[in-house]
């Protein structure tokens, strides 16, 4: 319908964006009827999303004409932005920005570097930046899920954790089962993406490759390659994130500092985290 109304591509894009945003707001309205309040976060996310993608698109036009090394800067900037976004998912745990940055940079960075070296990712900016951004984005989502799940697991098992501490267990050992659960659950989307590839969803990358005239079989294989890389980047990120976040839940004297607000007002939050 919109294509019939708007002849200009830019106007069509704006109309399409407005239609999808409206749909997202409608979903939030339905959720609101069920006392689930995500309106503010959704509106902010929609506005941020459209502004950021247009800004980045405009910058990309300039950068793609620049030297190859600028892609490294661009990817590094994306990693920092991803860490800032992801860290907000674990408010209450000190040092989450550092954990997120290390985990996302190491997770996605290692895969990008190795695969570029192996020739799986082309060094051309038009290839390296979009694929790199996909890996960083997935690493960010996995990191957010890991931190979020870790926090809720710890908050749900305060009694067991403090019992283990009281019996002389090392702080990191007391949360080991919850790190494991966080790792496993954070990888569910990545595993499901890999399992359902081609059946439930066909990534945009494949559509793009087909449109640009690539061999369909090669396009299909390369999509598997991309999703596999996403899985590796996500897995590595979750592993590093889980290992690093453990110590941030405790003080130097092995006291649990991470606890729900209501509980912390009773027993008090403890400063001096490691």
């Amino acid at each position: 319908m919109l294509q019939g109304i708007f002849a200009n591509q830019l106007a069509l894009g704006c109309a399409q964006a407005a239609a999808t945003a409206l749909l997202a707001l409608l979903v939030m309205f339905v959720a609101r009827q069920r006392q689930i309040h995500l309106e503010r976060e959704t509106v902010v996310a929609l506005i941020r999303g459209i502004v950021q993608i247009i800004a980045v698109g405009s910058i990309l036009v300039l950068l793609l004409r620049g030297p190859k090394w600028t892609s490294v800067l661009l990817l590094a900037a994306m990693m920092v932005a991803a860490a800032v976004t992801s860290a907000q998912r674990a408010k209450g745990i000190p040092g989450t920005f550092g954990v997120s940055l290390y985990a996302i940079a190491a997770g996605s960075g290692t895969v990008i570097a190795l695969m570029t070296w192996a020739g799986v990712i082309d060094t051309a900016m038009t290839s390296l930046v979009p694929i790199g951004s996909m890996l960083i984005s997935n690493a960010m989502n996995t990191n957010s899920l890991t931190l979020n799940r870790f926090r809720s697991e710890v908050e749900s098992h305060l009694g067991l954790i403090e019992t283990a501490l009281a019996l002389g267990a090392a702080s990191k050992q007391t949360v080991a089962p919850y790190v494991q659960v966080s790792f496993q659950s954070s990888l569910i989307p990545a595993i499901d993406s890999l399992k359902s590839l081609g059946i439930v969803w066909i990534p945009g990358l494949m559509a793009g490759m087909l449109l640009s005239g690539a061999d369909p079989v090669y396009a299909a294989i390369y999509n598997f390659v991309t999703i596999s890389m996403m899985f590796s980047a996500s897995g590595l990120t979750a592993l590093i994130s889980g290992l690093l976040i453990r110590s941030h839940a405790f003080s130097a004297a092995e006291q649990l500092t991470l606890r729900p607000q209501a509980a912390s007002s009773q027993t008090g939050s403890r400063g001096g985290s490691k």
Binding site: T163, A164, A166, L167, A169, Q255, S264, T267, G268
Partner: protein, 226 residues
């Protein structure tokens, strides 16, 4: 043996524990009583450094406990909580937990001995999900003893139990404390229980030490506590 020195903990400008200095002699059972929210549990949590004092400290056998590694301190100062949080697995798995942290493996003989002490003889392989509240608290007690502590802290260990289980666990506590020559600090909101178990009683109100003395003198004047 165990001595707090001007021990305080302030959270969000609230004085949970306010300048408490109290010595606890070896083998003594000190009951900490007071109304709800008076700071009894907060005081207890400071004794094994599950929480950090804002000021003051605790001396364990003459050593400032900040000089003792937390894991070692907590092995020596055991804790039995109001709710017996048991780890998934069998009773024996729970008893082995503490010693394993020090790289020791409890022998079958020791497990049998510990279970005998808490009246759960022959139940080593029972899964903890099948235990009653009283049984779970007995396991919690045996698990704390398995670490061979010299001090035992108990935070209202019978408050979640019915009358019958409460009496049984209370008797058990006395037996274990005497048998193992433990120094014991027990938090209770029940004055009668404090009188039965303790050799001395201290009353805390609004985080401050209100009174401390023998059972007779403190219980006698504290009739308006509740």
């Amino acid at each position: 043996m165990l001595e707090t020195e001007h021990l305080s903990r302030i959270v969000s400008a609230k004085r949970l524990v306010d300048d408490i200095t109290v010595p606890v002699q070896k083998g003594e059972v000190l009951a900490v009583v007071g109304p709800s929210g008076s700071g009894k549990s907060s005081f207890l949590r400071l004794l094994n450094r599950l929480d950090e004092p804002t000021s003051g400290t605790v001396y364990l056998e003459g050593t400032d406990y900040r000089q003792i590694p937390p894991q070692e301190l907590r092995r020596r100062v055991g804790l039995v909580t109001q709710t017996p949080y048991l780890f998934p697995g069998t009773i024996a798995d729970n008893l082995r937990f503490g010693p394993r942290q020090q790289g020791e493996d409890l022998s079958e003989k020791t497990i049998t001995f510990l279970l005998d002490q808490v009246g759960l003889m022959g139940r080593a392989d029972s899964h903890v999900v099948n235990l009653s509240g009283g049984e779970a608290q007995r396991v919690s007690l045996a698990r704390a003893i398995a670490n061979s502590p010299t001090v035992l802290l108990m935070d209202e260990p019978t408050s979640a139990l019915d009358e019958k289980a409460k009496e049984e666990v209370e008797t058990l506590i006395l037996k274990i404390v005497r048998h193992n020559a433990l120094t014991c600090v027990i938090v209770s909101h029940d004055l009668a229980q404090a009188a039965r178990i303790a050799s001395r009683v201290m009353i805390i109100k609004a985080g401050r030490l209100e009174k401390i003395g023998s059972v007779t003198e403190v219980i006698h004047v504290a009739g308006n506590l509740r």
